[in-house]
Amino acid sequence: MAEKSTSREQRLGVYVCHCGVNISHTVDVERVAEVAATLPGVALAKTYPYMCSDPGQNLICADIKEHDLTGVVVAACSPRMHEPTFRAALVSAGVNPYMFEMANIREQCSWIHDDKEAGTEKAIDLMRSAVARAGYLEGLTEREIDVTPEALVIGGGIAGIQAALDIAEAGFKVHLVEKEPSIGGRMAQLDKTFPTLDCSACILTPKMVDVSRHPNINLMTYSDIEDISGYVGSFTVTIRKRARYVDVDECTACGDCVDVCPVAVPNEFDEGLATRKAIYQSFPQAVPAAYVLNMDECLGTNPIACGKCLEACDKQCIDYDAKDEVVEIKVGTIIVATGMDIFDATEIGALGYGRYDDILTSLEFERLVSAGGPTGGELVRFSDREAPKSVVFLQCVGSRDATVGNEYCSRVCCMYTAKQAHLVREKLPDAEITVFYTDIRAFGKGFEEFYDRVRKERVIYRRGSVSEIYRRKGRLIVRGDDTLMGEPVEIEADMVVLAVGLVPRPETDGVASFLKLSKSSDRFLMEAHPKLRPVDTAVEGVFVAGCCQGPKDIPDAVAQAKAASSSAIAPMARGTVRMEAISAKVDEDMCSGCRICVSVCPYEAITYDEKDKVSRVNEALCKGCGTCGAACPSGAMSTIHFTSGQMRAQVLALIGGSDD
C-alpha cells in the first residue's frame, strides 16, 4: 500500500475546542493551539468555544476554502460523538471526509484530571499525535451496497408483533420467527394490564390476528434460528421449522384430538398450574389457530402404543411422519425482540417459594386470576381451594438485589403488584391485603394516580422488606420489617405473591452470538447509545425492541418496537447503505497463505482462495477491527485508514520518538 503523502505536502487546520468550560477548565486550550501552529504541515491553529456548533463548523469550511487546507484535526471530545459531524463539514467544503482526525482531549483528558498544567501537557501530546497521523491520511471512497427489501423479526411477543406489523404496513416483507407454537409472548399470559386495567387478551388478540392475516408477514412459529451470517442489507438466516405434526392450514382447532389424548403434562402457558395434553393449543386465542403435537411427550403413534389422535381427527390434518423443515432466507435488516423471563424465586431459599403451595410468583398469580386460567379466574389457594382471607405481596423479589446478581430495578413490578392487589380486592371484598415495598416507583403516565386508587381500596402498603417466610400452626408467617413503624412484624397470610423481577431469556443468547451483539452489565442486550441510539445495536442493520433490551412495560415495549421498525425500514426504503471505507486489505503478493487471519477474524470476513492460495477480505463483513493486521506474520494484511505508517506516526509523536 502506497503511503505517499507525507506531512510536508499537507496543509492542515488544527482546531482546539473549549467545550464551554468542559475542556478549558483543566486544559489551557490557547497553549495547545500555539504549539499546534508550530508543528510541520500545520497551516493554521485556532480555538473556539464550541467546535461542534454551526459557527464552529462554518469556521472549518471557511478556512478550508480560504487557506486551501488539505486536512483537518479537531482536538475536542470523543470521535464517537462528533467525528460524523466534522467529516460532514469537510465534505461540504469539498474535502474528502477521511482527511480528518480527532484528538480526544475531553473524555481522555480534561474530565479525568484536575491539574491544569499536567492536563495541558497531556492535551498537547494527544493533539501532536493526531497531527502526526493526519499527515499520513488519504482520501477514501465509501461503498454503497444494495439492501434486500425484507426484514426479519425474532420473537413474537408484543414488541415483535408490533414491529412486524409496522414494517409490513410500510410495504416491506417481514419474516416473524417465534419459537413457541403461538405468538403473544408474556402479554398473552397476563389478565389485566396496569394502569388502565384493559384486558390483556382483548387488546392483544386483534394484533395477533392482524399478523396472521397480513399479506406481507411470513409467520414462522415453533421455529428456531439456526444461523445468521452476512451484514446490513444482506443477511442470510437459517431457520428450523420444527415439525408440528398438525397441518396448520387445515386444522380448525376443533379439539377432537385433545379429547382422546391420554397424556397429561404441566401446561407451560399456565406456569405449570394446570395440565395439557401432548397434542395441544397453547391457549384459545393462539395464532396460528392450530394444534401442535409434542412428539417427546406423545406415548407413541403406532396403534399399539396410542395413535388415538390420528383416528379422532376427521379432517385428517395430523401427519405423524412430518419432518422438521430448514429454510434459508435473505433479509436486509433484523429486529431482535426475544423478551424476558421472570426471576427464579427458588434462588432465595429463605422465602420458601417452591416449598409451600400458597406462595405464588406474580406470573402464576396472573394465570390464577385469568378467566382462561386453571381455576377459571376463581381466586383460591392451591392447598385447599379456599378463598384466601389474607393476601400478602412482596415487591422487589430478585430485583435490586446484589445477593442474586440483579442490581437493577425491574420497572414493572411496583405497578403490576398494585394491579394484582386491585384484582384481589375486586374478587374478594373482605380479604386483608398487604404489600411490602421498599420504594414505590410509579413514574409512568397514570401510574401514581393508579397507586393512589389502589391504596384507597383498602390495600395496606407497609414500607419494608421481607426476609423470611415460614409456617406456624398451618398458616404462612411473613416476617418483615415495618421500617416506618421501626419494628419487625410477623403477618399471617393465606397466600403470598412474589413480585419477581424480569431477567434476560437464555434463548436470547444464541441469537446474540450469531449477530455478535453485546450485553450490558445487567445481562440484557446493549443498545448502541443509551440516550441517542436506544434501539440500535453496535451491529449495523440490527435493532432491539422490548424486554430483551431491559425490563419495561407494554407501552414502552410497543414504543420501542415502533422506533426499531422505523429504523429498520429506513435502509430498505433507501435501497442502499453506505459502508465506511475502513476495512482490512491484503497485499496478495506478500500473503503466504498461512490463513492465520482467517482464524482470528471475529466477523468471519476473511476467506481463503484455494486457487490463488491467498486470503481475501469481504469488505462488507469486515468491521476494520484490525485483528488480522496485527496477527499477519507476513505483513501482508493492513487496515485502510489505520495503516502501519499512520499508526507509527501517531505512536512516535506520543512517545516523543523519531522515525529512525
Binding site: 431459599g349 429463605a350 420458601g352 422487589c396 435490586r400 438485589d401 446484589a402 445477593t403 421498599t438 420504594d439 414500607r463 419494608g464 422488606s465 421481607v466 426476609s467 423470611e468 417466610i469 415460614y470 409456617r471 406456624r472 416476617r479 418483615g480 420489617d481 415495618d482 421500617t483 421501626g486 419494628e487 419487625p488 410477623e490
Partner: protein, 374 residues
C-alpha cells in the same frame, strides 16, 4: 482522625429496606433493630459503641442480616465494630471480661487451666503430636468439646468414629488454643489477632495439612478469617459424609429413632453446609429423619453464637429461640433433636429443661448419634 462508622462499614449503600431486621432472629425478642443501627451509623447520629447501645450485645452473629442484605452492607460487622469500640474503652460486661481474660491466660474462654485441656481423653487413646512432629491430619478439638462436661462426648464420639473408619490423625494436646471465633465476635480484635498468630505458628510448626474441627465455629474462623494461606479445614460432618461415601465408614448398629436436625448458623448460613449432616443422618440404620419447617437457610438461630454463651440478652420479650426450636421439634414428634455444634447442643439442652420438655425429647450431637450406630 478516627474513621467514621459510615466509612468503615460502607453504610451509604443501605436503602433502609429492613431485610436485615426482618431476618434478625432476635429482633422480635430484644430491642436490637439492626436496620436502625445501620441508619444511625449512616447518618452519624447514634452511639458509636455498644455501651451506649447495649442491645448490640444481643446479636448472635447468625449472619442473616449480612447474608441477605440486597446492597452488600454488612450489618453484623458493624455490630461487632460497636462491641470492639466498647471493649477498647473498657466498657464491658464482667462475664465477657472473664471469658476474654481466661482466653488470654489459658487459651480458652471457660476459665479452665491449660493442663486440663486433654482431660476428656484421659480414658481413651488419643494421639498427641510430639513437639515438631508433622501432622498431616489434625483433629482440632476446640475449647468447648475439650472442657465442657456435656460437649466432651462430641470429642469422644469423634474419636470412636475415627477409629472405626481407620482415620489417621493427631491432636495438639494441651498446646491447642482457642480458635478465636467467639473472641472476634465479642469485639476483642487484639486478642483475636494474637490467637491467629499463635495458632498459625503452632500449625506451621507441625506442618499441619488438613484440619477437622468438632465445632463449626472453629471451622468458620479458620476458613474465613485466618487470612492467606487459608488453612485447609473441614467440619466433621463433611468428613463423615465423605467417609461414608467412600465406604470407609459403615454402621453396624441401629438407632430406631425419629430425628430432626437443627442447622447451626456457623455451619449453614455462614458456610453453606446443609447437605452433609443430612447425608450422614440418612445413612444411620433405623433413623427416620424429618425436617422441621424452619430448616436450612430458614433455620431459627438458637442464640448460642456471637459471645452469647457468656452473656444473657440485655432484655427479653417472649420465649427464648432455643425453646421455640425445642417445641417445634417436640411438635414434630421427634425423639432426638440433632445438631452438629457444641453451643447449639448446650443451649437447646438447657431449653428442653426451661420449656418443660424433659423426657419428651433429647438433644444430641450428630457425632454422638453416629457413634451410637457403630
Amino acid at each position: 482522625m478516627a474513621v467514621s462508622l459510615q466509612e468503615k462499614y460502607e453504610l451509604l449503600g443501605c436503602i433502609q429496606c429492613g431485610r436485615c431486621t426482618a431476618g434478625c432472629p432476635v429482633s422480635m425478642r430484644t430491642y436490637l433493630n439492626v436496620r436502625r443501627v445501620v441508619y444511625d451509623g449512616m447518618t452519624g447520629v447514634g452511639p458509636t459503641d455498644a455501651k451506649g447501645r447495649p442491645e448490640a450485645w444481643n446479636c448472635t452473629t447468625c449472619s442473616n442480616c449480612t447474608e441477605r442484605c440486597p446492597k452488600g452492607v454488612k450489618p453484623m460487622e458493624l455490630i461487632i465494630g460497636l462491641r470492639s469500640a466498647a471493649i477498647e474503652k473498657g466498657r464491658i460486661e464482667p462475664t465477657i471480661r472473664d471469658a476474654l481474660e481466661s482466653t488470654f491466660k489459658h487459651g480458652n474462654p471457660w476459665g479452665r487451666i491449660r493442663d486440663k485441656r486433654t482431660e476428656w481423653a484421659d480414658e481413651l487413646s488419643v494421639p498427641v503430636a510430639a513437639e515438631g512432629e508433622a501432622v498431616p491430619f489434625l483433629f482440632y478439638v476446640g475449647c468447648t468439646p475439650a472442657y465442657d462436661p456435656r460437649a466432651q462426648s462430641i470429642a469422644k464420639a469423634l474419636v470412636a468414629l475415627f477409629a472405626a473408619a481407620g482415620v489417621e490423625y493427631s491432636t495438639l494436646g494441651t498446646d491447642e488454643s482457642c480458635c478465636g471465633n467467639e473472641i472476634r465476635r465479642m469485639g476483642e480484635d487484639g486478642l483475636f489477632e494474637m490467637l491467629v498468630e499463635g495458632n498459625r505458628e503452632l500449625f506451621g510448626g507441625h506442618e499441619v495439612g488438613t484440619i477437622v474441627t468438632a465445632s463449626p465455629h472453629c471451622m468458620n474462623t479458620f476458613k474465613n478469617e485466618y487470612g492467606e494461606p487459608t488453612p485447609d479445614v473441614v467440619h466433621y460432618s463433611q468428613l463423615l459424609a465423605s467417609l461414608l461415601e467412600a465406604g470407609k465408614l459403615t454402621f453396624k448398629g441401629k438407632v430406631e429413632k425419629k430425628v430432626t436436625f437443627h442447622d447451626a448458623c456457623f455451619l449453614g448460613k455462614h458456610n453453606g453446609i446443609y447437605d452433609e449432616p443430612r447425608e450422614v443422618l440418612e445413612q444411620i440404620p433405623g433413623v427416620t429423619f424429618e425436617e422441621m419447617d424452619r430448616s436450612r437457610e430458614r433455620a431459627l438461630c438458637c442464640e448460642g453464637g456471637g459471645g452469647r454463651m457468656w452473656l444473657e440478652a440485655t432484655e427479653e420479650r417472649g420465649e427464648r429461640l432455643a425453646e421455640t426450636r425445642v417445641k417445634d421439634a417436640v411438635e414434630l414428634g421427634a425423639d432426638y433433636l440433632v445438631t452438629a455444634c457444641p453451643f447449639c447442643l448446650m443451649t437447646l439442652e438447657d431449653a428442653v429443661k426451661t420449656s418443660g420438655n424433659e423426657g419428651k425429647i433429647e438433644i444430641i450431637d450428630l457425632a454422638e448419634l453416629a457413634a451410637m450406630a457403630l
